[in-house]
Subunit: 350 residues, 2 copies
């Protein structure tokens, strides 16, 4: 007697064997029907199997299938920061692309913790996922090199990993910053501060500083390092703004490089009684649902989040489907373009 028969009948799961018995065929025939492999199968046999499948409400065990086929038809997504609603849109894009291609999506959050990120990657590897999309945390992850060497299908998202020749989907951050500075300069702003979360090795943050300096220079404006403000926390932010307003020459504008940071800045400005846009202009990175409802409505740099997500997933799936034995796979960096959304937080244009 087989052990599974000892379980109560209701609780036992329906297997391919049950279907085969019910249909009066062999399990390989059932398998063929399930996988649309009826080369020259008799219509009658096929129908018998189909009937048995629906009668028993059979659902094939994906573990067994995956184990046998050495693939799971699912991909993993590792996010470094879920707090930012920007990622919700990215997620939707990824999800849509997966659904269309018949892939399932497994999501893990590394919360910008490099160790957690490593565990997440290992977790996905153990689950035999066919590929991964990773928004890398700040720091070095030795596993990435191994995966790239092994040609494991991989797409990095939003952040570039230095020294790694891998598929990467990003937004042009230099361009985004340039759009911002151009707009501010066109409104006759000259003393423009930039606020960032600690940059460390995170590429978008580095690129936004780079773009800031480049754009200022192109407009013949001097780059003043005291206008580059790294914000660790709320108190920090308040302090920076106080400093900014302490000198004789008041700043004209603040360029905030993150939508959560923008809220912190607004808080601090409010606390100090500094009015936007009367006393200072404010321009934020990332367009959100609430940008236009802030006080005042916020001028922002908009990133095509949904498209980025979709692009990354499509690229990954393409990569998975490419047989590396027969074909060469050449990693690419796909770059999306940001745009400017003008509202009232930088004052009126004329």
């Amino acid at each position: 007697m087989k052990p599974r028969d000892q379980l109560t009948p209701q609780k036992r799961k329906i297997t391919i064997e049950d279907v085969a018995k019910a249909a009066g065929v062999s399990i390989s025939t059932v398998s063929r029907v399930m996988n649309n492999n009826y080369h020259h199968m008799a219509e009658e046999t096929k129908q018998k199997v189909l009937d048995a499948i629906s009668a028993l409400d059979y659902r094939p065990n994906a573990l067994a299938k995956g184990l046998k086929q050495m693939k799971t038809n699912s991909i993993g997504l590792i996010l470094a920061n879920l707090q930012n609603p920007f990622w919700l849109l990215v997620l939707e894009g990824i999800e849509d692309a997966c659904q269309e291609a018949g892939y399932s999506l497994l999501i893990l959050n590394s919360r910008d913790d490099i160790e957690k990120e490593g565990n997440n990657v290992k977790e996905f590897l153990m689950r035999q996922l066919d590929g991964m999309i990773i928004n890398p945390a700040d720091g070095e992850n030795a596993l990435f090199n191994v995966l790239v060497d092994e040609q494991f299908p991989l797409v990095f998202l939003n952040r570039k990993v230095a020294g790694l020749n891998a598929d990467t989907v990003v937004v042009d951050n230099v361009r985004g910053t340039t759009l911002a500075i151009n707009h501010l300069v066109s409104l006759n702003k000259k003393k423009i501060a930039i606020f960032l979360y600690p940059t460390s090795g995170i590429s978008p943050r580095l690129e936004r500083i780079e773009g800031y300096k480049k754009a200022l220079t192109e407009h013949g404006l001097e780059v003043d390092d005291s206008l580059i403000k790294i914000v660790e926390n709320k108190d920090d932010c308040l302090e920076h703004i106080k400093q900014l307003f302490a000198g004789d020459e008041k700043p004209d504008a603040i360029f905030s490089t993150n939508n959560m940071l923008t809220l912190v800045i607004l808080d601090a400005l409010g606390e100090l009684g500094i009015k936007v846009p009367e006393d200072i202009s404010l321009l934020g990175y990332d367009e959100t649902e609430w940008s236009k409802h802030l006080s005042p409505p916020l001028t922002t740099i908009k990133q095509p989040a949904y498209e980025m997500g979709r692009g990354a997933a499509e690229r990954l799936i393409q990569s998975i489907k490419t047989n590396r034995q027969e074909e060469q796979w050449e990693p690419e960096t796909i770059q999306f373009e940001p745009s400017l959304v003008v509202r009232r937080s930088c004052g009126e244009s004329f």
Copy 2:
């Protein structure tokens, strides 16, 4: 010759057999080490195995393990709506609880589409997940009854499913609405409109209407059905507000039952030149990061989103770990309490 040996050596995955060979032991010994089952294992043997594992960078195949053990140590989450940032916090709570208990989390989005929801449930079933957390879409899902009958570990989140005796984690919506109405009445508002997305069978929406009527009645105020506004889209919302202001007696307040809807209402009010809180009070459901930055800062009903997520996951894991052969499992409804966050959108209190 075994087929796997035909693959190039670098690409072949390390299996338990490789580790066993490298350590000079049997595969069952390796298995014992991996699963901490060294009853009385020689320290030396254990060390040899551990060395081989790290030398080969061995990562056990979770599919094989799951297939054998008939469990996967992972749970599924089915969300009906990812757009609302409320769910990000819920997600964090679920994730934390899972991580702590050593479970992985698989997420699927049904976008309030009952058919997609069905597919998602089936997908999870095929993957042999140990349990699911479901924020059910609007409509009847016949599968739910089957799962409950089979005692499949299941927790419903935020929305109750009518006629189903299953674990459910919700926030007290009648209480939330009562808090809102009490606050408005205390500010001497009498003509209070309620705005909702189409209710259909979705429990929180129904309960919020119920709470609204109950609270008004308790304050001796008449319930006027023309003040209950169902909003399908933006134009709809504009129309409703026009109607509201068309009569002789102007409304005192709008109670918005959804944070996305609140933004739509703000839009419409702005378009019509109606000022908050001077011309009308506005009170919103769901506290968000940006609530205090809206114009004016919004008074809201806050729901303990993180705690809800965590509570649901903990309940599910407890349910999974309970052996139904030996122990009875009694489904519960766990109810969290909302609270009121007072800001300026309802006017000053005295």
